[in-house]
Amino acid sequence: MSLAFDLALCILILGAAALAVFGRDLFGSIVFFIVYGVLIALAWITLGAVDVSLAEAAIGAGVTGVLLIGAWQGIRDGGGGEPEAPTPWPLHLAAGGAAAALCGVISFAVLSLPGHDGLAGEVPENQGALELGNPVTGVLLGFRAYDTLLETLVLTAALAAVWSLTPSQFWGGIPGPNHVKPPDGVLASFGRMLPPRGLIVAVYLVWAGADAPGGAFQAGTVLAAVWILIVLAGLRDEPRLSRLPLRALIILGPLVFLGVGLIGMLLGAPLSYPEGQAKPVILVIEYALTLSIAATLALLIAGPARRR
């Protein structure tokens, strides 16, 4: 029965992906991409990667849909519309060839690696040193903390790139359109009902992340989604981007992470944690990262400042 389920899921994922890529209607493609995200989250569950599934569910169902539909609206209102003149076929061929070549190089690199089980064998053996029950959190913040540190910095850099698109007269202003404050309607009530529950779920996810699937990224994405909902419902406006507390919030996580890494360097190796104190230090990094990821993702969706 599991096999039949896996097969059906695979076929659906391929179908949704194909319709998202080849669909003629831009809005239809976006819908299929959202569907694809949900199906991929289910695929991660069947593969036993609940941590990844949580992140995919939060990103795919919550954040990407809002981002893409906003982009679709921008294209429609901006008069861009669907591309009218078809791109010449040599360009298609060149792009396809380049993608195939890249795919070939990566496949070759992966296949030529010596046989190795990755970290699957070593993580459980050394897990005890970190006092964490969740091996994924152990890898992300212990054994491969470099990767995670750079990923959070990439997120911050992406926000800087988005902000660099701000017209100079609006620099440091407020992003997004000025949403109408609706009287008590369905959306406004939902905007009041959901955020407290979302906060509880986010706190729960980061709390559970030490010993069970969850963690900073999943919780941060849920918080970002709550932030976006409050703005869309017109209950609160986006903050002014020049505000110091906001900017401090954005770099809090990377800064704490870097600080711990530097202290580790003074005591021994970079990003090493003091013996016996690994878990509290990791939790502090996780909590700081959660807040920064939430603010960064929400502001990435909001885009550059559009008003003073």
Binding site: V186, L187, F190, M193, L194, R197
Partner: protein
């Protein structure tokens, strides 16, 4: 099969039935508002039966609470989305 298992199986059958009913509705009903109606009601009934079945299977109070929360959140989301999308579908430009 124990009594609890029988009840669980029956609830699963009910859940699957309502999901199918929702899909038949969304495929067969003639206009967008009827389809909305089929989708948001039948599916949440299906989810309710499934959630109760899972709760009986786990047999744990905390998990049952989480399952109830899942169902309530889905119910709120579907009710709210149906209301808003139904209104959006009234505008002919955006229904095309």
């Amino acid at each position: 099969m124990s009594v609890v298992e029988l009840i669980t199986a029956a609830l699963l059958a009910i859940g699957v039935f309502f999901y199918f009913a929702g899909t038949v509705g969304i495929l067969r009903f003639p206009d967008v508002h009827s389809r909305l109606h089929a989708l948001t009601k039948a599916d949440n009934l299906g989810l309710m039966a499934i959630v109760i079945a899972a709760g009986l299977h786990f047999g744990d109070g905390w998990i049952a609470g989480k399952l109830a929360l899942i169902w309530l959140l889905a119910l709120f989301a579907a009710g709210m989305a149906a209301q808003l999308v139904a209104r959006a579908a009234l505008s002919p430009e955006h229904n095309a």
